[in-house]
């Protein structure tokens, strides 16, 4: 690992520690069933080369943690992507093994409007070329309802 890589790794661990401490202090509300209005759906951000750090296959929202940079060559930062539930993703062909730590992906998402490092997952292209999307509404159109 390069010297810079070690620095980033240490920074990442420090961030996780800060996060854990904050959680212990603040009684945080659940993600539960919330509005997606905090995401800017008029703005799509692309990380050309993101690295999967963690994939949490949990209800009510699946979470994907990645390290990525908006600009090629910029220092990668830790971002959190929010998705729909495991049930809905399973119906779209996902599984809890869809991502694993270390996977290199091209990621598109709609960022939080408040500038925090979170976003609504839009699409990921895996190294295999497979493209994963997660819009329940788009998927609904494929499922042949009686009423168009």
């Amino acid at each position: 690992m390069t010297k810079l890589g070690i620095v980033y790794r240490l920074m990442y661990r420090a961030l996780l520690l800060v996060a854990a401490v904050l959680t212990a202090i603040v009684s945080a509300p659940s993600v539960a069933h919330h509005s997606f209005a905090m995401f800017d759906f008029n703005n799509t951000v692309t990380f050309k080369a993101a690295t999967v750090k963690e994939f949490r296959w949990t209800n009510p929202h699946v979470v994907l943690l990645v390290e990525g940079a908006r600009q090629p060559g910029a220092p990668p930062e830790l971002w959190s992507m929010e998705l729909t539930s495991p049930g809905n993703l399973t119906r779209m062909g996902w599984s809890r093994h869809s991502f694993k730590p270390g996977d290199q992906i091209e990621l598109q998402f709609n960022p939080l409007r408040d500038g925090k490092h979170g976003g609504a997952f839009k699409q990921a292209k895996l190294a295999t070329g497979q493209v994963l999307t997660s819009s329940v509404r788009d998927y609904e159109k494929l499922e042949k309802p009686d009423i168009k």
């Binding site: 069933h33 509005s35 009510p60 979470v63 943690l65 609904e140 009423i147």
Partner: protein, 275 residues
């Protein structure tokens, strides 16, 4: 004048007869075991088998079209919530993992549900909101005179042809009437929900809801839920634990697999604590 023995016996007999008549008019106190005919009768009901997924495009349209008839005082509060959501600061009505409650449980879910018919009852099984369910008694009983308020209320139903008519009362006053996850108000008590659930196509189910809530609505709010039938097994309902997202999987000092608290923002998002 003292009553004669004969008069006393007549009085006792009359009292006994009155008590028996009153008892017959009261609700049954047991749920009798179903007979084979009760199971056979279920075959005459419409086929609602399979897993049903809500039409999200229909939900989105109804948020605009089925305007809720708020009272002026309620509308003033709603306008502020709409403005906050439009500004990107949505209020989290359902972020504390308390049950979404009726009627929101039917109206805002993005997840699947299924219907079970058994003698004297229809049971709706959900996926999100902690796999909550609704018990709808179709055995002819009435609502309790003074039901304990609950999140889903007390539901009784009956079949009118191929339509299940459901009447629900006894819903907690704190539960929301909400057109979205960020806009809504507590019903404030005395809410009454009537539903007509029926197939409108081979694989499309429609629930017409009439919601009366005299403390926040100027008149009855009429809206609907559209569900699509799914037969593919990938739609089978899975576990949905509301609080699970508050935790990440970890290992304690003894090597045990444990849940650890995961950090979230006030708005309910999981974000790295780097900002």
């Amino acid at each position: 004048m003292r009553p004669s023995m004969r008069e006393c016996l007549i009085a006792i007999g009359f009292a006994a007869a009155s008590a028996a008549a009153a008892g017959a008019a009261e609700e049954a106190t047991i749920n009798p075991p179903p007979k084979p005919a009760d199971w056979t009768a279920l075959a005459q009901l419409p086929d609602w088998s399979g897993v049903w997924t809500p039409s999200l495009s229909d939900q989105a349209q109804r948020m605009k079209l089925d305007q809720i008839p708020w009272t002026p005082a309620a509308a003033a509060q709603i306008n502020k919530l709409v403005a906050a959501e439009n500004a990107g600061n949505p209020k989290g009505l359902f972020v504390n993992c308390l049950p979404e409650a009726m009627p929101s449980w039917m109206l805002i879910t993005h997840n699947a549900m299924e219907f079970l018919f058994t003698p004297g009852r229809v049971t709706i099984l959900g996926e999100s909101d902690g796999n909550r369910l609704r018990r709808i008694y179709t055995d002819g009983r009435s609502h309790p005179a003074d039901p304990d308020p609950t999140f889903h209320g007390h539901s009784i139903g009956h079949w009118e042809g191929q339509t299940l008519v459901v009447d629900t009362v006894g819903i907690l006053p704190e539960t929301y009437i909400a057109p979205s996850e960020a806009v809504g108000l507590p019903n404030n008590g005395d809410m009454h929900v009537v539903e007509h659930i029926h197939l409108v196509g081979p694989d499309t189910l429609r629930d017409d809801l009439e919601i009366t809530a005299p403390h926040v609505l100027a008149k009855t709010w009429k809206t609907a839920l559209i569900l699509y039938r799914q037969r593919a097994r990938k739609f089978d309902i899975v576990e949905g634990v509301c609080m699970q997202g508050n935790f990440s999987e970890g290992v304690d000092a003894s090597g045990n697999a444990v849940f650890q608290s995961a950090p979230q923002t006030e708005g309910g998002n999981f974000v790295p604590a780097d900002k």
